[in-house]
Amino acid sequence: MSTTIDPEPEVEQAPQTKPPTRAGDALFSGTALGAGLLVILFLAGVGAFLTIRGLPALDASGDSAYGEPNIWKFVGMLLVGTVYASVIAMVIVTPLAIALALVISHYAPKKLAKPVGYLVDLLAAVPSVVFGLWGLEVLAPRLLPLYKWLNEHASWIPLFDGSVNQRSLLTAAIVLALMALPIVTAILREVFAQTPRAHEEAALALGATRWEMVKLAVFPYARSGMVAAVLLGLGRALGETMAVAMVLSATGTGYLTASIITSEAPNTIAAFIANYYANASGAKINTLIFAGLALFLLTFLVNFAGRWIATRGQVKG
């Protein structure tokens, strides 16, 4: 009896057997799963390494904590510096990126929008060292007169107090802002471009100017995407090492000050590690790794928050 004559077993089996999987699909999902697992494994490995090598630094003090009384003061200082520089960078980059992204997505004619977008993307390909050199040699000296002026006329604002130095936190923040510009702009551009045509036309048909249309239809729609873009940019700025290490003149962990135009700012974690790791040994290495752990957790958190807001916005929008 051949199988074609008796279809019954097949009919019974049909609901149970999976639909046939194509070899290509299987290969792809296998590779994707593997790659995903590898990333998670790698992240966990890094986390474990930082924790195991960093924890001995918990009782570091004095010399092994680079002159700070204990590890918390040490990490706290650097965290303040890291967050301070990055937040200022975001304050600078946000309006710039929004403007650029709007020009690309809504203002410029297509012929112009493409190359402008391309140029901004190209900025992401500039190595960090080059940004550092440029910040140090080109930007910093040109900013000095501005800092002097600010210090003279606005030193009552704590931001502009103290003794002026061109390699200040603000200079570093400006370099950071430029480095974060491509990613923030690219995300914003995508978010803005996804505004439903129907909402834009609703605004235009009511007699909105282009800018009013942006305020009425584009921004409300893009709100969560904008927050996510800035947070992801922040994640980029927090971990940036080379440029800050080159530009910032802070010695040691630095000093706790609000001023952004002196050399006495707190240092950033990444720059501090880069500057001191080569000469470190013994307990100091643990201290540095502990600082690395703090940075790892901070960037992880910020990126996570960014992704979370981005996906939450997608579900809602």
Binding site: E201, A203, L204, A205, A217, Y221
Partner: protein, 259 residues
């Protein structure tokens, strides 16, 4: 307040593509004019050229004349933004602003006219517009709720309320009932009847009965031939178009014998 529209020799392009050719039509003030015709013949295109919404599409342009109460719409010094504030538009798919409340949606157009509005004045506008759109009773207790929380038919009437809140001179409607159920449709049709006393209304519809019910004049659009631009084949009082049209194609279309 309502104004008449005069269209002369209007050609409408998307880039190099001539979509509609040589439209000539006189739309009377305080009347309802319906545009009917098969899909793709340019009804929406013509409608959108009446409030300069056509040109928001990159590369889109027109040649010819449109005059609203004698004022040339496409004269060099005319600001399209100002035109759109006077000629309102309702779209095929309801498009309330998703993040705004019902209240703010109604006022969106008024807020654009930079002048400051008192609370009581704003309340008045909202109530008047929502009553005008036959929506007031359904939403008066939840004005602060998002406009997206309404049913499709309610959303469409919200969009109508938003359009009439700025007291436009002309109201353009592009298949306003195509996404609505029969009850909402009839509510919108009643509304069109009422609005006629104050506004000039132009409505695009695929529903022949609707055109017959609501309009005073009807324009039938058709493609010259496949691949050729659309054109206005016939423009006559609605009763004539549906009983004794001048053109054979019109006759075939309105009686449903259309290829």
């Amino acid at each position: 307040m309502a104004k008449s529209i005069e269209v002369d020799n209007l050609d409408i392009y998307y880039g190099d593509f001539l979509a509609v050719e040589n439209v000539n039509v006189h739309i009377k003030a305080k009347s309802v004019t319906a545009f009917i015709g098969p899909s793709g013949c340019g009804k929406s295109t013509v409608l959108r050229s009446l409030n300069r919404m056509h040109e928001v599409i990159p590369g889109a342009r027109v040649s010819g004349n449109v005059r609203v109460d004698g004022q040339a719409l496409y004269a060099p010094g005319v600001d399209p933004v100002a035109v759109r504030r006077q000629i309102g538009m309702v779209f095929q798919r309801p498009n309330p602003f998703p993040t705004m409340s019902i209240y703010e949606n109604v006022l969106a157009g008024n807020r654009l006219n930079a002048k400051r509005m008192g609370k009581s004045e704003a309340d008045d506008i909202v109530e008047r517009s929502l009553r005008g759109a036959n929506l007031w009773n359904e939403v008066k207790d939840r004005l602060g709720k998002p406009g997206m929380g309404l049913s499709g038919g309610q959303q469409q009437r919200l969009c109508i309320a938003r359009a009439i809140a700025v007291e436009p001179e002309v109201l353009l409607m592009d298949e306003p009932c195509s996404a609505l159920d029969p009850i909402s449709t009839s509510a919108v049709e009643d509304l069109i009847h009422e609005l006629k006393s104050e506004y000039t209304i132009v409505i695009v519809t695929h529903n022949m009965q609707q055109a017959a019910r609501v309009s005073d004049d009807t324009g039938f659009f058709n493609l010259k031939a496949v691949g050729e631009p659309g054109q206005l084949v016939e423009f006559n009082p609605t009763t004539k178009v549906f009983s004794n049209p001048d053109n054979e194609a019109t006759e075939a279309y309105v009686s449903g014998r259309f290829g």
